[in-house]
């Protein structure tokens, strides 16, 4: 249709009316858009005022001398006396400092202690006069005494109370039989800490680098009214960094601690935990988008990392992963035959090569990882792990015996407690099928978030749990005493007299040959009694920002260690 010029006066007045109305409408729309836009900017500015960190930061901020990283989970426990997990350990390692620390080459050097002396039955630590808390007060020997007593306090029920057993009366104090004051540690003066040992401890100097031995200041602890470590303001720091902002579940900001005794050696001004995600895929995307400075790689990201020509690095993170059985009597897994049957069909090599598919994973053969020291070379070279057997036929016979032993027609469904990471899920599905196919076992997968899984492990709410253990100190005992009947981390409550005796030898003796022989016996007992089924020793692959240097990966201690990291100018 062709447009014809309007002549009708009535029509033209109507037309002008429409035009006026249209113009008005347009004006209103424009005003609305401008108003909403303005409001957006206003709100954004307000949000910037409220939150301390506005917007996103790049992985490496050269001008602010800051890096951004991601964590797998929110740190569940930043009270050094209570923490039991690696994520809290990583954060604590940066914000707290013990008597002794590990330097960039993993040598044991003085932290708060300037010099120390460890004898057969006692140890003395002379503290630095210039070691200070983040509020400027000096770190004193009393802070250590308080923290150590707190860790041993039965009222606190710390999972790591057992590391205090090395101190005189430690075990009795933790059991509540002796008062806290009886614990073998006291402050001679503000800067001298004197420790009495329960028994000769060959590795006590390595032990005090561990996080349960970090100091806590008594007056500050009480001033928080039981909320110690609940937030950034409820903690006092003596490490290289201090936590200045902690938005639970979303971000943490660690800034250089101005009161740190060696602050000139701290090269970074800030470490920001910008993202908390368990999802390896998004972590890798953050890395590709230059949002985080390093990223661990999962099997799915390896191809993409190769395609992008990233330099892929790898390290053995020291931890051992295994299936741990619940040995309590009311559980079907208390039957040795059932556990032995599962052992006979568990192929850790297949798991590592076909299911996890990650480079650097070693098939698990023993409770003791390959890097642990023996008498002269490594422990595993001196005492090889039992050869794994695979025999599905034999396994079926054991299943029959297990049924008779338990007095059941069918083995009841077994609950397999796992974490909710994708890698844990695919492994669980693999084992579910293997045990179903080869043994006819019905496995129910119970995937839980990290905190919940720890909680369920503590409450023994599982038949089998996919657990992992990282070394606390550089000695085979850190793995060996895990299954001592008194250890609270022995979640399956396996108790064996001979094993306990072996642990006692390893703890008390300072003769390496004797200790290693005890460890070798433990290794054999763990295999014979099928206490656990080792899966693998984890090796991690990761990519780092090319400008981030000096990041240390370690098997023992907080990892990754960014205390000595720095940004290299382009």
């Amino acid at each position: 249709m062709r447009q014809t010029p309007l002549q009708n006066p009535a029509a033209s007045s109507e037309d002008s009316f429409i035009r006026t109305a249209g113009r008005q409408l347009l004006l209103y729309t424009l005003m609305a858009v401008v108003a909403i836009g303005g409001l957006m900017f206003l709100l954004d500015a307000l949000a910037g005022l409220v939150g301390s960190e506005s917007g996103n930061t790049a992985a490496v901020e050269v001008e602010r001398n800051m890096i951004t990283i991601s964590l797998r989970d929110e740190p569940p426990q930043l009270d050094s006396g209570q923490r039991a997990d690696q994520i809290s350990g990583m954060v604590l390692g940066h914000i707290m400092e013990g008597l002794l620390i590990r330097d960039a080459e993993s040598n044991l050097v003085g932290g708060v202690a300037q010099r120390w002396e460890v004898n057969e039955r006692d140890a003395t630590f002379w503290l630095r006069k210039n070691a200070r808390w983040s509020d400027g007060e000096p770190v004193t020997a009393h802070d250590f005494v308080f923290a150590w007593r707190k860790a041993a306090d039965p009222a606190q029920a710390s999972e790591y109370a057992f590391v205090m057993y090395y101190l005189k009366n430690g075990e009795a104090v933790a059991a509540g039989e002796l008062p806290l004051e009886a614990l073998g540690v006291r402050a001679i003066d503000d800067h001298t800490l004197y420790v009495e040992l329960e028994r000769p401890t060959a590795f006590f100097d390595k032990l005090v680098a561990f996080q349960t031995y970090y100091p806590i200041r008594e007056d500050f602890f009480h001033s928080t009214n039981g909320r110690y470590s609940a937030g950034a303001k409820e903690l006092l720091y003596n490490g290289r960094f201090k936590l200045t902002n902690w938005v639970h579940g979303s971000s943490l900001l660690m800034e250089k601690n101005e009161h740190y005794w060696n602050k000139d050696d701290v090269k970074l001004d800030a470490i920001k935990v910008g993202y908390i995600t368990r999802d390896g895929h998004s972590r890798f995307n953050f890395f590709k988008d230059n949002k985080i400075a390093y990223a661990r790689l999962e099997a799915e990201q390896l191809y993409s990392a190769m395609e992008n020509h990233f330099q892929i690095r790898r390290y053995q993170d020291g931890s051992l992963f295994f299936l741990e059985f619940n040995h309590r009597e009311d559980r079907p897994t208390s039957s040795w035959h059932l556990r032995r049957a599962m052992q006979l069909v568990t192929d850790s090599g297949e798991l590592v090569n076909k299911v996890t598919k990650l480079p650097g994973y070693l098939p698990g053969r023993s409770l003791f990882p390959v890097y642990l020291r023996g008498v002269n070379s490594t422990f595993r070279e001196e005492f090889p792990a039992p050869e794994p057997e695979l025999d599905p036929q034999q396994a079926l016979l054991h299943i029959q015996q297990a049924k008779a032993e338990l007095g059941v027609e069918e083995i009841p469904p077994l609950t397999l407690l796992i974490g909710d990471t994708p890698i844990a899920k695919s492994q669980a599905e693999y084992f579910q099928e293997v045990y179903q196919q080869k043994l006819g076992l019905d496995i129910k997968i119970d995937a839980q978030i990290f905190k919940q899984r720890l909680d369920k492990m503590g409450k023994a709410d599982f038949d089998i749990v996919m657990a992992g253990w990282g070394p606390d100190y550089d000695d085979a005992l850190t793995f060996g005493d895990l299954f001592a009947s008194w250890n609270l981390n022995n979640h399956g409550r396996w108790a064996h007299e001979e094993y306990d005796a072996m642990v006692a030898i390893a703890q008390n003796s300072i003769v390496p040959e004797e200790r290693m022989a005890a460890f070798a016996r433990m290794q054999q007992l763990i295999y014979d009694e099928v206490v656990i089924l080792p899966h693998y020793e984890r090796g991690n692959s990761y990519v780092t920002h090319p400008q981030l240097k000096g990041m240390v990966r370690r098997a023992v201690g907080s990892d990754p260690d960014l205390r000595y990291a720095y940004i290299e100018a382009e």
């Binding site: 191809y303 190769m306 395609e307 690095r313 299911v355 997968i445 692959s541």
Partner: protein, 462 residues
């Protein structure tokens, strides 16, 4: 001028009464019921018809597919992990795996070389000692040729002993080309510059035992190492644990279609009853009922889903399908009830209702004869549109891990697993995603066609 005379003439027969005559012949169209007419018009709608076939096909695929493709969806074939459907299935039979510590029967060659023919069981590398490699060697593997950036790919491992000049790789080997790079290390473990790269073509292999277990060769026939077999056929490939994709899709469809069909039927039924009651009662009761419906609309679905899961005590390893179904029924009916109430309110005021009432029709008759049939179109269309929504909800919930428990597959959870390997093995994502998209599209188009076909007003215009 003579005046014209006008004499009206009447035929006498004009005053006879008309005969009642029958229509002798003529064309009539057969009387069509509402449903017949709707079907006729649906049949003319090509898009809707194809969608209908698709839906029927999907139902057949789900119900009868497993009869023809009798493969368990949870059986793992670890010799064929993440295999796309087009990958070659030719494999060589090899001897069972034994540990290897660098022994070799072949005469020593030079440089970086393979000790045995490389296959998917193991790639065994040998090399000559490199002078200066006092700290041992590190071995990398790449699927891309090494370029100027010197990114060697995956660090597979180290040999810290400079005299141990061998390495065995068994990690997730596929039948393809690999680039192995050997980098010597100095005393401090720092990589030295003179790296050597070897291109290796890996072939499919299966052990004698594996071939027997999977029934690829007969037990009594002579199984020879070096012989060839064809690996098990997986028409749509396998997933990350070597499970058959087709079988998983069929079994996954059960969950998806069950939720997709049952949930809408239930909640539309609930919505119809509720809406009809509200519309028919009218007045204060109507206001009260509809405010309650508004309240239900405001409830957050995901939160309720989680609450139901806890309330039902869904333990580990149990499927979350029932709570999902109940949550969907309890929370999704208000939309239907509003629609039906509107229709009923409208119909209630129509003339024919009043007429019917004057003729003495009781309430039941009114509802059954007039009201429900007149809202039928709306109801059917609502159901067909609700089906894809429900399927999508199920897929979404399974995707975020709130749905089925492993090893039961569902399309949503398969997508979740497939998305991780989207770049390397896209078939693990594409197939389930395609099924979800096709189903949702088919139901949407069918609903579209039904709306046109069932709309009585369009019928009058034609």
């Amino acid at each position: 001028m003579a005046e014209p005379t006008y004499t009206p003439e009447f035929a006498t027969d004009a005053f006879e009464p008309l005969h009642i005559h029958e229509r002798k012949h003529g064309t009539t169209r057969p009387s069509l019921s509402y449903w017949q007419d709707a079907w006729l018009r649906l049949r003319d709608n090509k898009r809707a018809l194809i969608s209908l076939y698709l839906v029927v096909g999907l139902l057949l695929f789900t119900l009868f597919g497993p009869l023809f493709w009798n493969v368990s969806p949870s059986v793992q074939d670890l010799d064929q992990v993440s295999k796309p459907p087009w990958a070659s299935r030719e494999a060589v039979i090899v001897a069972p795996y034994t540990l290897w510590h660098g022994e070799t029967t072949t005469p020593s060659g030079s440089g970086l070389r393979t000790a045995t023919p490389p296959n998917t069981q193991a790639v065994r590398l040998l090399w000559d000692p490199v002078p200066g490699a006092t700290g041992g060697y590190r071995i990398y593997r790449n699927v891309f040729p090494i370029n100027a950036q010197q990114a060697y790919g995956l660090p597979l491992g180290e040999q810290f002993d400079p005299n141990a000049t061998y390495f065995e790789d068994r990690l997730d080997l596929k039948a393809r080309d690999y680039y192995y790079t050997l980098v010597p290390l100095d005393d401090n473990g720092i990589e030295l510059a003179d790296a050597t790269t070897l291109e290796v073509t890996v072939r499919n292999a299966i052990t004698v035992q594996g071939a027997l277990e999977r029934g690829l060769v007969d037990a009594d026939s002579n199984v020879e190492v070096g012989g060839r077999v064809t690996l098990k056929f997986h028409p749509l490939g396998t997933d990350y644990l070597g499970r058959d994709m087709l079988a998983r899709l069929m079994h996954g469809a059960r969950v998806s279609l069950f939720i997709g069909m049952v949930a809408p039927l239930l909640y539309v039924l609930l919505g119809v009853i509720y809406g009809a009651a509200a519309g028919f009662l009218g007045g204060r009761a109507d206001a009260l009922l509809m405010r309650f419906a508004d309240f239900v609309v405001a409830l957050p679905f995901l939160l309720f889903m989680i609450l139901f899961k806890i309330m039902f005590g869904i333990g580990p390893g149990e499927s979350g399908i029932m709570p999902m179904l109940i949550a969907m029924v309890i929370l999704s009916w208000p939309a239907t009830s509003r629609l039906v109430r509107g229709q009923i309110l409208q119909i209630r005021e129509e003339g024919y209702i009043n007429a019917s009432r004057l003729l003495g029709a009781n309430t039941t008759y009114l509802i059954m004869r007039h009201m429900i049939p007149n809202t039928m179109g709306v109801i059917l269309v609502t159901i067909t549109f609700a089906v894809p929504t429900a399927i999508f909800t199920e897929a979404f919930l399974s995707f975020i891990g709130m749905g089925v428990a492993p090893p039961t597959p569902s399309w949503g959870s398969m997508c979740n697993e497939g998305i991780k390997t989207m770049l390397t093995t896209p078939h693990e994502l594409i197939f389930p995603a395609m099924f979800i998209s096709l189903t949702v599209l088919a139901f949407n188009l069918l609903g579209d066609g039904l709306r046109d076909a069932l709309d009585a007003r369009i019928r009058n215009i034609e």
